[in-house]
Amino acid sequence: MTAPRGRGTGTPWDGGRGHPGTAVEGGHAPVVGDSTAGPLVRPYTMTKGRTRPGTDGGRLDLITLVVTVADREDRAREPEHEAILRLCRKPVSVAEVSARLDVPLTVVRVLLSDLLVEGDLRTRAAAPVTKLPEKKVLQAVLDGIRRL
């Protein structure tokens, strides 16, 4: 076996859809349909017909941390909402809420958004537009990894 001679110029993702993919070994499920199968898009129906989180949905990235508001209003809530509030007594990422409650991300975003709108949860203030972590954050991450 020889090392491949380079990546070439055409990449599978140039077209953005319907790319041929890389031949992989192993027992993966075949692509549904055939080579004409289109791109994957988000579902339109979920959680009482909603897939779009409310106004705060845009802030719910995979790693957005959410935390339960301590002095929240005392009222009846859906069991899923209660489960989230119990889990998030300490800050927890959106991905982790999804994994721990075994609820798909799409659904978790809607539920979290409900709670944010109600003021039961809060998130960190939205990141600046640059999105790139600051140098001092990077340095702290590097130091933290070195301590592992």
Binding site: P4, T11, H28, G38
Partner: protein, 198 residues
């Protein structure tokens, strides 16, 4: 009293979250690397999506939809009271490439695991991160029975820029995985520096 202006609300108690993407071909050791450094047993989250088939003509639109799920596994490293680092493995299947967009969004950088038994399976990961200007390092996992390529041979095969670190690793070893992450974050810092002074 709660203020409508979120900028003035105290948010000190919520740490800053950052993420690193662990990419590579099927079976390259992504989950293994995440597990070896994570402080929690790796978690798996599912994203639901609809697989749409498009008609041939413009008027066809979306004709058929099948719901499918894509699993992402991830781990966590608490850096300080203030910062928490998440490590996300990319989905093994190529057809979930669009999930990569979401993963890459705001990521600090990426580790691309190169499996020397089938180096070509990481080509598209290299292309993906190069195109987005997301800093990455290549970690060469040496599996039993695989040809022992040198760092230079791997670098040449992948055709990555000389500034991209290529390191030998064993994802099963915590210290080795840690070194890979140190390489990556150092590289991210250097890239940031170069961008600022360049």
């Amino acid at each position: 009293m709660a203020s409508a202006d979120s900028d003035t609300q105290p948010t000190e108690a919520i740490p800053h979250a950052v993420k690193i993407i662990v990419a590579g071909g099927f079976g390259a050791g992504k989950t293994t690397l995440v597990s070896s450094v994570s402080e929690i047993a790796p978690l798996s989250t599912e994203e639901l999506m609809t697989e749409a088939s498009y008609g041939v003509d413009d008027l066809g639109g979306i004709e058929d939809k099948t719901t499918t799920t894509v699993a992402l596994d991830f781990g966590r490293i608490t850096i300080s009271d203030d910062i928490v680092l998440y490590l996300f493995g990319t989905p093994g299947q190529d057809r979930f490439w669009f999930m990569w967009e979401e993963l890459a969004e705001g990521a600090l950088g990426s580790v691309i695991l190169a499996d020397t038994r089938r180096l070509d399976t990481c080509f598209h990961a290299v292309d993906f991160f190069e195109r987005r200007n997301l800093p990455f390092v290549v970690a060469v996992n040496r599996f039993e029975g695989a040809t022992a390529y040198s760092e230079e041979e791997v670098r040449e095969a992948l055709d990555v820029s000389a500034s991209v670190p290529v390191v030998m690793a064993d994802a099963r070893e915590r210290m080795s995985s840690k070194e890979v992450l140190v390489e990556l974050v150092s590289h991210v810092l250097r890239s940031r520096q170069a961008a600022l002074s360049g």
